[in-house]
Symmetry: C2
């Protein structure tokens, strides 16, 4: 491709609305343009990257027996009502009506459609396992679309669904996909980590892993063990409860006046006690139910754990000050577990019963109890793992300290079990003629998001530094002079030679200064740059530069093509 | 691929709701399944055909300088309001609101999005011409979705948009695409015809061609000249007005009583005159405007010509009986051009002024005028070409008789001119620094519809007869026995051999009777079938059968792969 004919509008300035580096660079390098909030057009180079990732994903799915299909984006509401998700999915689901006023949605995932398909076609255990996938647009009505392709409203996903006879079969399919995902992100040239994850809105209770591309700018926090292979989304990571060194109180609990004290910080300072001795008491509402949640003062409550532990509410939130006033008779800052209403359920993180001499709110403005003992002075109905893990804690598996990293979620695999097959009746007859529900898994790769994640992980101050396997083109030829006939003719010769060797190459033949071309080459991030200047070419040499290392070498013009080819092959092997 | 592992559910019965043969065969051959009215899932074999057509389209677009991009399916209403199409597009446009109640539509075409993109990126004539295309889902809320992929609500299209400096540039881009489309449908192995067409809702006045795959079952009628290369959609074809041999009346026009007479047929019979002497008078409403339309009694009014000739109404329809009564003082069956209200515009087909002694309605129930003369007895405000062409008529270009054929529209090319670039301000500076509007064209291929059209044109009583270039697989190997080890092992050997030669092959290894496998092979329509039976294989031979001709030959097993390869290459050259 000649750059003079390529629609690749690069920008020197950072677009005002682009908050993260991948978004900035994708716009500046002319890979995407915004059509509306969260809706983008892929320009030629952006689309090439997308197609490359798609091709890698497709190969790895096919290699594991995945069969590619294509399901409709528009989905009838009836199926979502059958699965029960129509009413619970909430505002993120784009809904629309057709001219006959029938309801539809734009698919955020395709469990309903695929399960409907399979229940119509599968009769016997002999037809299982079945692994079906598609690569297609998905839709999510984000409250605040942002970060370019990282959190768009229309995005490209690969979603595969597995149907098995039993849990053992699901386990096998799951492992296949887990392995495939590792291959995919390795082949894309990315540094990633699979971590244990929460299944979220997709549902299913059989387990889930997320695949995180590691980058300091990542939205997600993950913990991983320095001693074993344990890794998890911080939101999901189980915690080992840690007792605080402390002595039991000598006497009864006491009510103390704490004027002006509102927060955990305030009370810690006012009483001059460490936060580890405080009980944080939070009144929550899950759907119609209200309950009191206790965690140690230095810890953070993990709402996802809380919701999972209590069975999964559609809506879970802190009770409003009005509700707190009504139930506890005080403001939210004064809530405590002592002498709570009889019917109120009290759930506590596993560390709370280990506390010996605690301080807590007294359900009375500007007062606290001190020398409080769990069990003696207040009741706990359920002890659960409810807190966020913290870096440096001991791994639950091996005890070695956990480390923290930031990551961008680019894939997730789920053991769905029979949630959808039971709801929609996707059954088969087993060897004995007994009707059973298919055991399902689902597996998604955020194809468009992987582009953004790759850039977050691979860039420098000058622009994108593409890993070779997903670069829009592998090599750019820059003519430092467009007046020098030898330069122009040799450039064209090398361009043809590289193309004939199968190298993906562009020739920057624009009538621009060399500096402009260099800047664009760095910004777009072609892994290899070949520069033809009058001086060096007079000696029969051209300059070959690696974008990543910045290393430059002079190469004989006649050896250039082969050398480029070799470097690319080497880079693709990694 | 092993058929035992392929999701290819074939059916013996014709699905009740499938009205046309392509729909029936796509469901029966296991290529698609319905998810909802007008919304389909492509199963693996159906998707392979789709991808093959996409690949051909992509190659031909790239070969002519087209650059592939990908635009959002969800489009903001603002852009449609800028172009003026939001209010006029009507019920076929799927509309939806996001959570902030902003309006969007699902793109039926992408003129707005692409023009918005180009106005942001193009500054100079040096950046033109620019040819941008995408292959993507399109949406149309059909009143009655039917015929499977022929008229779906979600379908795959390739749409290319060209941006040029001037009309001459547009003409060049248009010709490029016209040529590309000829290559595409030739390469798909289809018999097709490009015909002059009406631009319809896309707009533009610079001309348009449709590409019709010829099939008796086609929805569209086309006329083509037996003497020259003229061809047109029957709706669009211009007509040469033909005078009727007749003598002028001797006296004044007369009012005659015609009791019980309502239709053209009635009056022709009642007065014993040919229909060519009758004037058909129709009161129409175009948006807010009412006018009287006259055509000869034996002709059919062409509403598309009528609408184009009068400047294009958003809504054009016959006036209701109430409106006719109010304006003409009679029922619709009695309307005539004599003594009409003064302000009422009268437009007539070019044949009407050539009539000498006509009969027409008298604007009075059960009465007609006879011996009516145009000009003398009634006025005509505009004479236009308003009728449908008929087979056998003389070609306007060369005079030879026109013939009729049925076709399925699979592509259309449009000269848009500056309709969208003016509305949205997609301008550039020319050589002299003068700001001008880009001159646009747009060019669509119905990729998914081409599958259906290919089947309408290529099938027999047993199933689909794929043209080699778009067959889901080129060859199927059938083991007539699954008990005979020699058969099974040779089949596997040939399967591997064919794959290594790059042949797209499936091995029907299912534990089914040979008859079932043959029926499925014919139904799915693999161009070549290789059968391994115990008897022939004992002699070292296998049977090779061509689906299209039904010709069968015995081939030495060791020569089979090479022969199949040769036949495929030959078939792909056509």
């Amino acid at each position: 491709m000649l750059v003079s004919q390529l629609l690749n509008p690069t920008l020197r300035e950072v677009p005002a609305e682009a908050e993260v580096i991948s978004h900035q660079l994708m716009v500046r390098a002319g890979l995407i343009r915004k059509s509306a909030s969260g809706l983008y057009t892929y320009l030629p180079l952006g689309l090439r990257v997308l197609k490359k990732i798609e091709a890698i994903v497709r190969e790895e799915m096919d290699a594991r027996g995945g069969q590619e299909i294509l399901m409709p984006i528009m989905q009838p509401a009836e199926l979502w009502k059958e699965s029960g998700r129509w009413d619970v999915y909430g505002a993120e689901l784009f809904r629309l009506n057709d001219r006959h006023n029938r309801e539809f949605c734009l698919g955020p995932t395709h469990e309903e459609i695929i399960t409907d398909l399979v229940r119509g076609e599968i009769r016997s255990y002999k037809q299982l396992p079945l692994l079906l996938y598609q690569i297609q647009n998905k839709y999510r009505d984000e409250r605040r679309p942002r970060f370019g392709l990282m959190r768009g409203r229309e995005f490209v996903m690969k979603d595969l669904y597995s149907f098995d006879r039993d849990e053992a079969g699901l386990h096998e399919s799951y492992q296949k996909m887990y392995d495939a995902y590792c291959r995919i992100f390795s082949r894309c040239g990315l540094t990633y980590r699979p971590v244990e994850a929460d299944p979220g809105a997709i549902g299913g209770t059989g387990g889930s892993h997320e695949f995180m591309v590691l980058a300091d700018s990542g939205e997600n926090s993950v913990v991983y063990c320095s001693g074993c292979d344990y890794a998890a989304n911080t939101e999901k990571s189980e915690c080992r409860p840690q007792a605080v060194e402390d002595i039991s109180p000598e006497g009864e609990m006491k009510l103390v006046s704490t004027p002006g004290v509102k927060t955990i910080e305030d009370i810690s300072e006012f009483l001059a006690v460490p936060k580890t001795t405080l009980v944080k008491s939070l009144l929550y509402q899950g759907d119609e139910k209200t309950f009191l949640v206790l965690v140690r003062g230095d810890r953070t409550l993990n709402e996802i754990k809380l919701n999972n532990a209590l069975g999964g509410f559609v809506s879970l939130q802190l009770a409003s000050p009005e509700v707190v006033e009504e139930i506890m008779g005080c403001g939210p800052g004064s809530v405590g577990p002592v002498k709570v209403p009889e019917g109120l359920m009290v759930v506590a993180d596993a560390e709370v019963p280990l506390m010996k001499k605690a301080v807590c709110g007294a359900n009375k403005a500007e007062h606290h109890y001190v020398d409080v003992v769990s069990g003696r002075d207040f009741r706990i109905d359920q002890v659960l793992d409810l807190r966020m893990v913290e870096p440096g804690e001991a791994c639950l598996k091996c005890g070695a300290p956990l480390k923290e990293a930031r990551g961008i979620e680019v894939g997730q695999v789920f053991k769905l079990g029979t949630k959808y097959s039971k709801a929609l009746g996707a059954n088969f007859l087993d060897e004995k003629g007994v009707e059973k529900s298919c055991v399902m898994g689902c597996y998604g790769v955020g194809v468009s998001r992987t582009i953004a994640a790759a850039i977050e992980q691979n860039h420098d101050e000058f622009g994108i530094v593409w890993p070779m396997p997903i670069a829009p083109y592998q090599c750019v030829i820059v003519t430092a002079s467009t007046k020098d006939t030898l330069v122009v003719e040799t450039a064209d010769k090398l361009y043809q030679e590289l193309k004939s060797l199968g190298v993906e190459v562009v020739l920057d033949d624009r009538d621009e200064r060399a500096g402009v071309k260099f800047k664009d080459a760095d910004l777009v991030g072609y892994p290899l740059r070949v520069t033809l200047g009058s001086k060096t070419l007079a000696n029969g040499q051209v300059e070959l530069r690696e974008r990543k290392s910045g290393e430059t070498q002079l190469v004989k013009a006649e050896d250039l093509a082969q050398q480029v080819k070799t470097m690319i092959e080497k880079a693709l092997q990694c």
